[in-house]
Every structure is written in structure tokens, then in C-alpha cells.
Amino acid sequence: MRQAATRVEVPLHHSLRDRSPSPFPGGMTLHIKTEAAERHTLAVIVDNEPGILARIAGLFTARGYNIESLTVSEITADKSVSRITIVTSASPATMEQIIAQLDRLVPVHKVTDLTAQGAHVERELALIKVAGSGDHRIEALRLADVYRARVVDATTTSFVFEVTGSIEKIDKFVELMAEVGLIEVARTGIVAIARGREAA
């Protein structure tokens, strides 16, 4: 150990004070902090140029933000503009950063936080393949009716259902189908739009 610390007018930071050696090799446990997150749906209007999706997806990975769902589609007749709907979870401070970071990308026209802005409609579409026979087949059709899922393909041993709704509704429907012969699921991810007459 080197010469002991002599205090000046302020106490030294804890990290540089003498410490008894840690009982464990490698020192004390390091806790990696995580923040409480809330879920937001963002509408990002972008110029439809090559690489724009990689630019946005990469921004999320590079800065450590989460993407829960991302959908993208052209929205103008001339195909020059796309709308990207992103569902992400973050603390309020990080959410502000996500929006600012998206907004400063050169091809981004506008970022709207639909969740912060107020009432909006969110929908997802899923295609769900179920196979089985006998009671399972009848039960699958009965549940599909309850969930307003449409049959878009049928064989003597299988169905493909199309269902739209909130994430929670589709999650629940998939969960039920698991008990009656679920084969595979394809989901679109969330699209969302603000209620009322104004654009986002």
C-alpha cells in the first residue's frame, strides 16, 4: 500500500479511500443498474431512401434502446415517404432522448410520440396456423369465432386464422391456440394512429 491519504478540505471520493481487500477474487459484486421503463408507441415519418430502416434500427442498438415492435410501409402514392411505427420501452428521460435522436437523422421528417400525445388506436394482424382433428378442430373454430378471427385457409387437418387487434388480444389468442394444435404464428407488429381528425 502506498502512502496514506491526507485529507484536504473535502473528503475524497469513496472509490479512492483505503479499503480492506475484498473477500472474493475479482472484488465486490458490481451491480448493473436498470431503469424503470414505460412503453411508448412512436410514429416516425421518413424519406423512403435506401438504408433508412437500418439507420433507425441501428440507432436503437447503438444507443442501447429497446425495440418491442417495428413496422414500416410506404404511405404516399409516389412511394417517397414511409411511416415507421416503433413500440419501445424506456424511462421518461431516455424516451425524450430516443425521440430527439430519431428526429436528428437527416431523412426523418417527423417523430410523434402517440402514447404521450393522447388517445390513439393500435392494431396488429396475425396469421396463425393450427393443425388437429376431432374436438381440437371444433374448439379451435369456436375460439376463433369468439376472437373474430377469420379462416383464410383450410385443409382437412389444418386452419390458418387471420386475427387483428391489440397485442394483448393476439397474445391471448395464440396462447389459447397452443392448446388446440398451434403450428406457427406470423405477426405484423403494431401499427398505430392518433384518434380524432388531426394528423400525427
Partner: protein, 581 residues
Amino acid sequence: MGEKSGADILVEALCDLGVEVVFGYPGGAVLPIYDAMFRSGRIKHILVRHEQAATHAAEGYARSTGRPGVVLVTSGPGATNAVTGITDALLDSIPMVVITGQVPTALIGTDAFQEADTVGITRHCSKHNYLVKDPALLGATIHEAFHIATSGRPGPVVVDIPKDVQVATARYSKPGPIQHKTYRPQLKAPQTQIEQVVDMLAAAERPILYTGGGIINSGPAASQLLRELARITGAPVTSTLMGLGCFPASSDQFLGMLGMHGTYEANMAMNQADLIVAIGSRFDDRVTGRLDAFSPNSRKVHIDIDRSSVNKNVRVDLAIIADAGHALEDMVRIWKSRQHPRPDTRAWWDRINGWRAKQSLSFPETGEAIMPQRAVRALWEATHHRDPIITTEVGQHQMWAAQHFGFEKPNKWLTSGGLGTMGYGLPAAIGAQLGNPRALVIDIAGEASIQMNIQELATASQYRLPVKIFILNNEYMGMVRQWQELTYESRYAESYSDSLPDFVRLGEAYGWKGIRIDARADLDDSIQAMLDHDGPVIVDCRVAKLANCFPMIPSGAAHTEMILQANEVSGTMDDEAKALV
């Protein structure tokens, strides 16, 4: 008007944009462009010895002249070698346009010879990038690239041009002023916000202006306006590493640099202030120290051109999105129109002067060894009347230069602040010398950093650039060694610079003059000999091997927990502290 090849369009567009110098290195995928430049004869090309150096030279040129730096490199390794400099320019907001060759469009994606996904690789280390697949779009893309690189928060823009696009022909005409569809940086803030910050400044008892590189990026007028704002408000001024020179170091109102290796008075004033006005600075982790202890009792105003800089690390009370120069101009105008008297800040200055009295930049000077701080001060004494441009590498020498070399004007201090790139200083000095042929340009270097782009000695020789390299040689990667001493009980893992070259003879081998300084008594005369030589000089100044850079706020500590001298330090760090950078 006839059609031209893509390469000719590029050269003509560069000329239309006023580009005089391009830093580059030829290769297969840019041969048409090199041929077009050769035939045109209108652009000066500087042949570097490694593409990374081309990017740093362009940064040095840009930072010292205010004009964008331009880089031209080939595909594959040419582009990947440029990535460090592109990232460096992004972190330090340096306007730069990097033109990269690419394999012909038909070969893209086939793992062709010297193919790399340049737009993919540079997507997140550039401000923006393009792959140009049509020669008809090339001219407009180049003009747009310069617009984006130089406006708003400046940064590097990459334009990747496949070889067939350089050969194919199209029409080109010089476009008018660019009105971008989506990219419209906000330069001026609403008057009400400016009035708010002026009111806050007029009412503050303990204000401080926390200034940064944004003021330098805004242009020399912004530095003049900062002086005026400081004069009429009487507020103390501190600066980040990147902002040095935007306020004169000789002013009584200047507290020096703040942050990890900043002065005691700057950091204590930040901690005790009741109002911080941040202008063109970004509350970087080197500046704030431990966030939950950062300036706990102040109201904070953040003036920045980049909205994403606001509330990123520190929550502020008032955010003003504007160019620093515009905001300063508006603040000065409104302050004066309201005829605010100069506030009475005597009590605040009394406290500041108390902190100043600690003389936190003083250093022990015993024995025969040349203290590195002494060497920097001697260099300042000998050169400051010539307004030299100083570049640095990264490490202890960089911090000593920032602490002990006083800057009076903007655009004189070129350093890799955000990315901390060793090997920056020599190529940056070359770029600065090209942009300022009559200036005295000195790279204050360390013996480890200088070796990272040592091949550029040849570039300076080739273009007769009289740059000076002043190496503070302590035979260690000094900042690594310092951290090992402070936090790993002096276990110096791999931080000793073994097998060092003889820098004097190395310089001579490249046609430079070499000077070695071993004794303190020789310091002034040897510096004079360096200055007297009309050509490039490399100085190997042997300094105290184990000197540490103080004052220092350890990682994760608060401003009030500053270490002033080595005898205040001991022991080891816990894991939480070790995990901090």
C-alpha cells in the same frame, strides 16, 4: 451542355464548392477520380501515408480554418482505415466530407476485391452517408453532403461512389441554395427564451458561463460575442477541452478548463453556482463527474444547436435550441436594450478567488528532471506572441497542454476530445499547416501516441510543411500508467513504451531536423532552436517519467472531490469505480 463522367462531375462540384485541398490516398476504385483531378489541375491533393491520417489532416484543416475538410480514399481498406477519423469528427462535430470509392455497382454484394460495405460501416459513425448509384445524382449529392456537413451541428458525411458511376456520364449544373426536404437545423431561438436567460443572468448571484466547442464551430464572431457577454454580465467563464480559445485564457474572468483535469476554481464554481449557462457544450461525462452530485443547487440553461444534446446527461431548466453565435448575439442585444447594469458579483468573485488561491495547476519541481508541465509552459513562453496553432495526441501530454498552454483565440487548439484518438496530432498539424501556411503549428505529443501515425513525417517532408512535433517523452503511456498507479496499486500492465525509436534519428531519416532535450537548462535554447529552423522539427523532450496529471476528479467522483496532488491518493478502487471510464 454536354455530359461528363461522374469523376469529372465530382471534381467540378468540389471546385464549385470552393474546395482547395483534398487529403487522400489512391487505389483501384478511385482511379477515375484521381485521373479527373490530374486533368483538371484545380485541386491540391495531399498524399498521406495512411487513410486515417487523411481524415485527421482534414479535421485539422477544418478546425483551424472553419472550412470543411475533404478526404478521398479508395474502397475496402481505404474506407475502413478512414473510419476512426470519421468517428472522431462525429464526436467533435468537425465538418468533413469523405469520398470513398466503391466496387462497380454490379459487383456490390459479391465480396469483390477490396469491397467493404462502406455505407453500412459508416452509418452510425457519420452524420449522414450516401451510396450514389446514378451519375446524374452525383453533383446534387455532393452539394447536399457539404450542406449537411457544414450546417447545424457540423459532422462528417460519407459519399460512396462505385467505380462505374465515376466512369458513366451525365449532365451537371451547379445547384442553387439547398432547401433540404427534411433537414432544417434551427439557428435562432424564440425571443422569449433569450429574454428568459437574460433575466436569469441578471438575477443570478453566482452565475457561470460554461462554454464549449459549439462556440468555435459557430465562427470567430461567436467568440467575440462571448467576450462581450462576459464583459457586460461580469460572469466567470469556464471552457471544455474542445472550447479552449473561445475565451481568452489571459482574461481575469477565465477560470480555465473544467472537468476531470480542469482547475479547482472552475469545478468548484460549477459546483457552487446558482446559474449555469451552457453554450455549445454538452455536459460530457469528463465534465460533469458524478451526475447526482453535479452542481446541485444551480438552475441550468443549455444553449445548443442539437436538440438531442439537451437533457441527455443533465436535466436543465431552460433549453434553447440555437446556434451559439446567434444566441450570444441575441443575449447581448437584449441585455443592452434593457439597460441591465453589470450585476454585483463581488461576493461570488471573492469565493472564486479563494479557490484560485489554491493554485491547482502548480506542480512540484524538485530534482533534475524536466517536469512536463514546465516544458509546456516554456513552449508557451517562447511562442505565444506568434499565436501558434497547437495540436495534440491523446493522454497526459494533452491534458498538460490544455492546462498550461493558454489560448487567446479560437481555432488555435486542435485536439481529439470526444473520441480520444491517439495519433491525431501529427496529421492534424499537417492539415492545419496547409490551411494556415504562415502559422506556427506545433504538435504537442507523447512518445506513445506519436508512433500511431508516425508515417506522416513523410507527408510533411513531401509538401515542405514546417510543422513542429514536441514530444513529452516519459517512456510510458502516461495516462494509462497514472490510472494504474491510482487504481491498480501501481501494477503497470503493458504501459511501458519499450523499444522506443531514437526520435532524433528517425526524424532525420525522413528529412526532418531532430533535437533532443535532456536537461532543464537546455529547455529554452532547444525550443528556440526548434523555432529557428525553417522546416519540420521533431523534438524529443525527456521529461520526468512518473509525473501525474493533476488536478484530477476520479471517475465517478463529484467536483468537490477533486484530487489536487499525488499525496492525497492511495489505495484501490471498488468494482463500481473500476467499471467507470
